[in-house]
Amino acid sequence: MNRRLLVIEDNEQNMYLMQFLLEKNGFEVVGADDGARGVEAALACDPLAILLDIQLPGMDGYAVAAALRKQATLAATPIIAVTSYAMVGDRERILAAGAVGYIEKPINPETFVAEIIQYFSPRWDKAEA
């Protein structure tokens, strides 16, 4: 059973927090601290979903999203953007780059997991049907 999530995040504190919350909720976390290693890791681990920071050194989030979308094996893997850019237009831009949704930084530990699963988990009542 696949429980892996790929987190692409360069900030150590943020990475730690997300990893903690996700693992606490039953996920396995694969971390990558820049875009290139993120794409590599995604190809290698076939995650359930990818949490992607936009503001990355070198290859930024938009570029990583575009690169991931080019991979046939990852075409269906949901990408959730985690960003502190919350300006009008940012949202449209990241969704256009291939993300299914985005979460604003700073994340709220209370609701973080419930929020992200909206983007990739099936609704329980839909799942039954």
Binding site: N25, G26, L48, E110, V113, D125
Partner: protein
């Protein structure tokens, strides 16, 4: 000097002879006047000592004849009489020639003195000048008068004596009759013996009680009616010191003719003869079998009632404590888990917290057991074939008791059905097998057996809590160390354990007791130290078609078959009760108070979770979100939500329109069972 003694009584003759010979006289004796005359004719005598009243010829006649005989008249005659003692008699005697008159009894010295005096007077006198005897006619007249008077007196005396005797006889006869009827109508058996304790007499009650007739037992030693010699001898010792005390009852066992032994009470009195000298013993024996049995039964019932009351109050106490304890445990467990989530695995405090959680969880297990004993477990009784239920457990039991203990399973053919919650059967059999395993100390044999039995009222009188009727029995027997009689009373008490500290909670048998009580049955224990123990559970036969038990709801309860259900509920009390309900319904339950715990449990469950039963509103993550998260990992998972909230809240949580996936708190076991079943079937 030669003296002729005349007396019809041999004793008197002997006494007089001895007396006179002792004083140097020669003595000849005659029994009456005629014999005396014959002797006088043959030998010379110096003195005649004669009684008066004698057969053949009396003293008066002898005197008259002697004095009339010229050859004999010189011999003095002394009258020695007890009968003729009147002054007229004396005068008459002297008149017909007697030389002296002595009344019997007489001091020997006085008699000798008179004899010597008469002899001396006789020697001094000239026999030739002896006065002529009185005229024949006068003498005869006087003699006749004396005789008639004597005769009249004698007749009167005899008549009086006869009357007195008749009266005495009458009284005696009456007394004898009274005694006889009393003797035979007394309810107690009476046995009369002599001083050597040989039986002389017995009454009808004795005959009825012991089965011996008087003829059979007369002359036998009294020991024959006692069971054993030792207490009989002890009784003898006691009696020697305090006999004849009517208040003193001795308890001893007797033996009937047919060998039957019975407990009795005996009262022993000394039998005395006319002079008050002990002549034997009288024993009053009462059969106290009924009373002893009644008392024993009463005592047994009292102690059993006492025991039952004790168990009841311990149960109430335990139940109350368990409930509060459970609430506190929820807090300990809850916070320990929260803290656990805030520490990293591997950190020392993480391990410490895990220990706390583990201990709290084991404590919660104990309180669950306690609630079982207190009969506060929520149960779902169903009609069962115990054979099948036990059979299903055998594999688990074999693992439980280990390879070195032989487990034998002996199911009875045609076993009657019983009404019981199968999870309770699990609990009972597991607890008993664990005890049996510990009793055989790892090596021995355990036999599990089923059977049917019909308990009579008599049997129930011996077993408190048992009511007459048909029962299915389930017994677990071991050949282990056994239980001493002193401990037998205590084994069902909660927290009573013989196992070492940390090895037993002392709840196993208490739970067995509670469960069996709850199912209107009872437990019988037989144990011999070093021989082994058998616990036999009696569960009432379930008569098919009969009314459903009190615990049955009107609609049949749908049960699980061990499917794993993950229950998530932040209110500990509800979490526990719901878990207990589901366990009792036959499900395997994973209980979590928080979503993260739920996820951890789900991941740790090798067989996978079939159903998530979660509260709708919870901190961190509500039921629907949790369901969504878990569905990510387990796409086949079924979901059911619990809610105590208003419909609007549920709508917001995404459960609206799915009322069939929602169960409202509080819910009944039937509702829960049905909803769970339906959710699993979807």
């Amino acid at each position: 000097m030669r003296i002729l003694s005349v007396d019809d009584k041999e004793d008197n003759r002997y006494l007089v002879e001895a007396l006179l010979k002792g004083h140097g006289f020669e003595v000849s004796s005659a029994a009456h006047g005629a014999e005396a005359l014959a002797l006088l004719a043959a030998e010379p005598f110096d003195l005649i000592l004669s009684d008066i009243l004698m057969p053949v010829m009396d003293g008066f006649e002898l005197c008259r004849r002697v004095k009339a005989d010229p050859g004999l008249r010189h011999i003095p005659l002394v009258v020695y009489t007890a009968t003729y003692t009147g002054s007229q008699d004396e005068a008459f005697a002297l008149k017909i020639g007697a030389s002296g008159f002595v009344q019997k009894p007489c001091e020997p010295e006085a008699l000798i003195a008179i004899i010597r005096e008469v002899l001396a007077a006789s020697a001094a006198s000239d026999c030739t000048v002896l006065p002529e005897p009185a005229g024949e006619e006068e003498v005869l007249k006087l003699y006749s008068e004396r005789l008639v008077r004597k005769l009249e007196q004698k007749m009167l005396q005899l008549e009086q004596e006869a009357q007195a005797r008749r009266k005495t006889e009458e009284i005696l006869k009456q007394s004898e009759m009274n005694y006889r009827s009393l003797f035979n109508s007394i309810r107690d058996a009476i046995l009369v013996s002599d001083l050597e304790r040989r039986i002389i007499n017995c009454n009808q009650a004795f005959v009825d009680l012991f089965g011996y007739t008087l003829a059979e037992i007369a002359g036998q030693h009294t020991l024959v009616v006692y069971e054993r010699e030792e207490p009989y001898q002890q009784l003898g010792v006691i009696l020697n010191s305090c006999m004849d005390d009517p208040a003193l009852l001795h308890h001893i066992s007797f033996k009937k003719k047919d060998g039957q032994v019975f407990p009795g009470e005996v009262n022993v009195f000394r039998l005395r003869n006319d002079e008050g000298v002990p002549a034997g013993f009288i024993g009053l024996i009462r059969d106290v079998t009924d009373r002893v049995r009644f008392e024993e039964q009463q005592k047994l019932l009292e102690s059993q009632l006492h025991q039952a009351q004790k168990m009841e109050s311990i149960g109430r106490l335990a139940g109350g404590v368990a409930h509060d304890y459970n609430n506190m445990l929820s807090v300990i467990l809850g916070y320990a888990q929260i803290a656990l989530n805030k520490t990293k695995p591997g950190a020392p405090v993480h391990d410490h917290l895990l220990q706390i959680v583990d201990a709290a969880q084991r404590s919660a297990g104990m309180t669950r057991q306690l609630l079982g004993f207190a009969r506060k477990q929520t149960v779902v009784p169903q009609v069962l074939d115990l054979n099948k239920t036990v059979e299903g457990m055998l594999k688990m039991l074999r693992r439980l008791i280990g390879e070195d203990v032989a487990l034998t399973w002996r199911p009875a053919a045609d076993l009657w059905p019983v009404l019981i919650d199968p999870s309770q059967v699990d609990q009972i059999v597991t607890n008993l097998c664990v005890n049996a395993r510990d009793a055989v100390k790892g090596r021995g044999a355990i036999v599990i057996e089923t059977g049917t039995t019909c308990c009579e009222a008599a049997f129930c009188a011996q077993h408190a809590g048992a009511t007459a009727g048909e029962y299915v029995t389930l017994s677990v027997r071991d050949n282990g160390c056994g239980i001493g009689p002193v401990l037998l009373d205590k084994i069902f008490e909660p927290f009573f354990t013989t196992k070492g500290s940390g090895q037993g909670t002392g709840l196993g048998l208490a739970v067995v007791y509670g469960i069996v009580q709850q199912n209107k049955g009872f437990v019988a224990v037989r144990s011999q130290p070093d021989q082994g123990t058998t616990f036999t559970l009696h569960l009432p036969r379930r008569v098919s078609g009969g009314a459903q038990g009190a615990l049955d709801a009107s609609e049949p309860i749908q049960r699980g078959q061990g499917e794993t259900i993950l229950v998530v509920e932040d209110e500990e009390a509800i979490l526990h009760s719901t878990s207990a309900l589901l366990t009792s319904l036959g499900y395997r339950v994973l209980a979590a108070a928080r979503s993260t715990e739920a996820i951890r449990l789900a991941h740790a469950e090798p067989g996978g979770v079939r159903l998530l039963l979660a509260d709708v509103v919870m901190p961190e993550m509500g039921g629907p979100d949790l369901a969504r998260l878990l569905l990510t990992f387990y796409p086949g998972l079924k979901c059911l939500f619990m809610s105590g909230y208003a419909d609007s809240v549920i709508t917001d949580s995404g459960v609206a329109g799915n009322q069939h996936r929602l169960i409202r708190k509080p819910f009944s076991i039937q509702e829960l069972a049905a909803k769970v079943r339906a959710a699993l079937a979807s």
